[in-house]
Subunit: 492 residues, 2 copies
Amino acid sequence: MSKKLTKRTEDYSKWYNELVVKADLAENSAVRGCMVIKPYGYAIWENMQAELDKMFKETGHQNAYFPLFVPKSLFEAEEKNAEGFAKECAVVTHYRLQSDPDNPGKLRVDPEAKLEEELVVRPTSEAIIWSTYKGWIQSYRDLPLLINQWANVVRWEMRTRLFLRTAEFLWQEGHTAHATKNEAVIEAKQMQEVYAEFAENFMAMPVIKGFKSESERFAGAEETYTIEALMQDGKALQAGTSHFLGQNFAKAFDVKYTSKEGKQEYVWATSWGVSTRLIGGLIMTHSDDLGLVLPPKLAPIQVAIIPIYKNQEQLEAISEKVAEIVKELRKKGISVKYDDRDTYRPGAKFAEYELKGVPVRMAIGSRDLENNTVEVARRDTLEKQTVSQDDVVNFINNLLEEIQDNLFNKAIDFRKEHTTEVTTFDEFKKVIKNKGGFVSAHWDGTSETEERIKEYTKASIRCVPNDAKEEVGVCVFTGKPSLKRVLFAKAY
Amino acid sequence: MSKKLTKRTEDYSKWYNELVVKADLAENSAVRGCMVIKPYGYAIWENMQAELDKMFKETGHQNAYFPLFVPKSLFEAEEKNAEGFAKECAVVTHYRLQSDPDNPGKLRVDPEAKLEEELVVRPTSEAIIWSTYKGWIQSYRDLPLLINQWANVVRWEMRTRLFLRTAEFLWQEGHTAHATKNEAVIEAKQMQEVYAEFAENFMAMPVIKGFKSESERFAGAEETYTIEALMQDGKALQAGTSHFLGQNFAKAFDVKYTSKEGKQEYVWATSWGVSTRLIGGLIMTHSDDLGLVLPPKLAPIQVAIIPIYKNQEQLEAISEKVAEIVKELRKKGISVKYDDRDTYRPGAKFAEYELKGVPVRMAIGSRDLENNTVEVARRDTLEKQTVSQDDVVNFINNLLEEIQDNLFNKAIDFRKEHTTEVTTFDEFKKVIKNKGGFVSAHWDGTSETEERIKEYTKASIRCVPNDAKEEVGVCVFTGKPSLKRVLFAKAY
């Protein structure tokens, strides 16, 4: 397999698919639509999990685990949610295979081992969790209930793409119960903030915080708060959502509590989630034609060190020096890989770490030993610099911060350049067609108009930004009055 | 629900079931055989995961993620494994539900959405992983391949018990590939050591390291290394297994590598796993009639602090003092909960932390403030002591270590008392019937004898201990010659 990637300008989608496989992040499996997350890709997910989990716990949440299966009847309880999720799903109907009498060595479903009630592999866990919460919530003392689950879920998608849309994916789903509507809304908004902070501070991926139009809402939600990122091809990516569920699930599963005043009340609910899709967003925000570019805060390897040597003696002298530097870097919490494999040439190693997006590469040869120097290269700008061995640890420590900031700023600049205010539908179409990105436009607030605009342009309403200022205008499509601009974009 | 538990001597099994539910560890779900792991139980699992994951990484393993589903045909590739695992399993046959035309508001399986090939929800992942490894392994440079996965698995068990045997459970499964038989055997044994170290050092649960008899081996393994623990009711618990798989999976999935000499060779495999079953073992090793007893190294809360006060003023003075102590304890990495809830009385809080097995409880009242003291109680021995506030941080730090050691030593003593060497089958039966525990006996090495002994006594061969010394003897059942004692026990 050639290491050379298709260029982004040539075919962005092909570039993405090739990059995911060549950088050893993930691959398609023997199961339609399901991916294998390879160690390097999974290490990024582990870093994401660690940071998110810390943020969830700091905001008072605890982890728990609920069953993989949802009995069909539980889905029927909340009609809208069932409508949205129960349909395209994996359904378990039997609990046994047996040797096939007609085909020696083959297995078949045992027709006598049919389940009385079909089990759905969870596409999301509101139904099973709310049927459980009924037993956990009696009094106001039991509230708020703030729980998160790390899990796999399955949605039977017809068209799948590694990380972005797969039949099985990994995610976290928070499910909380509150005594009042106000508390639940505050929780849902808080988690939107947590997601935005994670996206911007760790992924270096700027996001717009907003809420969804009715037609883009989560099935069963009264309000869906979203963070929306912009990819390099001008398409938006919904990176995380947090839902205010009102009392829909409490009513569907009869979850009531006794208030301080002794009254029986239905509780108020939220749910919120991010998934391995974030890895897709990370890739498409920063990477280039040479391969992956990772923000230091999530990179499994932050610094790769490569010795340049002609013989064993040189290697040993270099390794001795490197050991000191590695020790100091690790003291600062920097993850380092010293690649002294003798089965690959330095050039091949350089190419590998470039492809894999390692933020900083350090090379050191015999000449460097004499001069007390090393060569430091940064992945984001590809700049190289000779640095004194005495300063290299601080230099790299600062450089990692600089790279993190630079990636974020580049992405912010890109988004600014690709956010266009329009007043006419002609402009709207032209921008979507030629430039892409976010289009900020007035909209009359109806699902009909939203649908028509999507038919014409393939652009959907990504969100009504939280910070949208009131502004008198007219709908770009119908000319009806509007008080706020909303953001449209084509989306993943 | 009464907080009082059934006594262990009365009904051990009932005591266990009640404890798991009352200590808020887990409960049965709406799905037959599947459990909900509640936050407190899941926090124990998270602590177990963190330590194990660190140990796996220190021994060179990386995490990855493979699909939840295994196409039926992949199972057919390795016959013994299929025989052992593919039979009692959850089978996905359809990918869509639809509104039931005969029952408004109900859903049914869409008969037109039948899968061409059934998918089995993984009961273990050898098949899907080895079909993937085929693409990853070409050359000796790709070996060893050292991968672990944290995942949920499903086995359609008929009789289930929380943590000990559930249809769905959480586990980790390591799957490694090696160039030589010797390397694979060393790996399998190394992971047995890792498990034993974890069980003894963190769970304070002594284990016997050994290997399984042929009939107790993992389906598809050439050797199964096990760690066996002894529960308080005299039954053994298989706590972790590590398998040397030979070339069975390499041959079934045609996984070959080119050696340094340019030859095509099949690779050698291992797999190894521990699961949420460990939590069941943890409970049954240490807990008592008052509730859970947790070893400090895995306790989600190591120290619970309870203020004893009559009015708000007293509470404030106490809280101020406690804040200082909490800060110092946390500096030492000790997890502390200060429980100043005003909705519960101190007595109720004492009972709660006792039931939940928090290793150390500290109480502090106004009198203590005057005297510069606190009261410290340890959960394992129930001893209380008055300690100076000046010493309390070091005192607790040492006490946690002492409790950890005490739990391990108590369990070691129990095992010694419950390990009996026998020479006749009458003795064997008597020990199993009256005392339980491990019975060390000579055995003629045949599966037939093993089976007969099990029929008579319900005791199975738990393992041939690694350190079993050569000793001339005769089989306890057939009188045939034997050179080693093996360990029998009734088992979970």
